[in-house]
């Protein structure tokens, strides 16, 4: 393993992570809801919200879109926008993300952040599982199938 120190951004990573943690805290202490993006999006778009309340879910997701683009404009852009990525890989992967997060009741935010933060065994095991399959998938795509040229 070689570590790419030139690309390592520890302070931005910690600061961004802290903001995500603050968001999860605001949603939990403010209204008792777990900041799990796949759960919020899934129950919104499948019309299956347990409490039947779609408005706060929509506003939360619109807030994510707006918060990100706001910082993008304020900073003048922290990274190059990716282009030319194979559309089949993007669409096929997105379908698996949708099915998998609903089947497994969560994603990086619900299991990885909130689940581990509240010491949930389900959250920890789910996180270890999706990290493992993500590592293997990227290894296969870049180093076995040989789409390594993909940024």
């Amino acid at each position: 393993m070689t570590i790419d120190w030139a690309s390592f951004t520890p302070w931005l990573a910690l600061a961004g992570g802290a903001l995500i943690g603050l968001s999860a805290t605001v949603l939990w202490l403010g209204m008792g809801r777990v900041a799990g993006i796949s759960g919020i999006a899934g129950s919104l778009f499948s019309f299956q919200a347990a409490d039947g309340d779609r408005s706060w879910r929509l506003l939360f997701l619109l807030g994510i879109v707006g918060g990100a683009v706001l910082v993008h404009l304020l900073t003048g852009g922290l990274f190059e926008v990716r282009s030319g990525y194979p559309m089949g890989l993007l669409i096929g992967g997105a379908l698996l993300v949708g099915i998998g997060t609903r089947m497994g009741s969560g994603c990086t935010s619900g299991h990885g952040v909130c689940g581990i933060a509240r010491l949930s065994m389900r959250g920890l095991l789910a996180t270890l599982t999706f990290m493992a399959t993500a590592f293997v998938t990227v290894y296969l795509i870049r180093h076995v199938i040989g789409l390594g040229g993909l940024a």
Partner: protein, 138 residues
Amino acid sequence: MKNLIALAAGLLFGAGLYVAMMADPNKVLAFLDLAGAWDPSLALVMVGAIGVSAIGFAVSKRMQASISGQAFGWPKLTRPDLKLLGGAALFGIGWGMTGYCPGPGFAALAINPAEALPYLLAMIAGMVIWDRLLARKP
């Protein structure tokens, strides 16, 4: 008040994802590519996010209800099962294929719509397929 809290939390979440550069799938894939030039940044995103939200969850154990009066929605399932692990495994494959998990998909919508829009539409289709078709089967 609920809607205002949700909007504020969403803005913070989106800002955090952007500052952490998780809205950049190249950055995410550089973390997931252990055999390449590995960028460990995302591990620190998790440290920051878990560290801060752990305080919130700990504080809530001493509260009767949330600030808006709504009861805390503690997740009902507590035991791991095959559905949890199978779903997480599929999700990880999709994450590795795209470089986007659901949050960054939304965060990238206005920044890189050429990728984020088809990603989100396919992700939502997958969610509806599970919720409406697969989960219903006996």
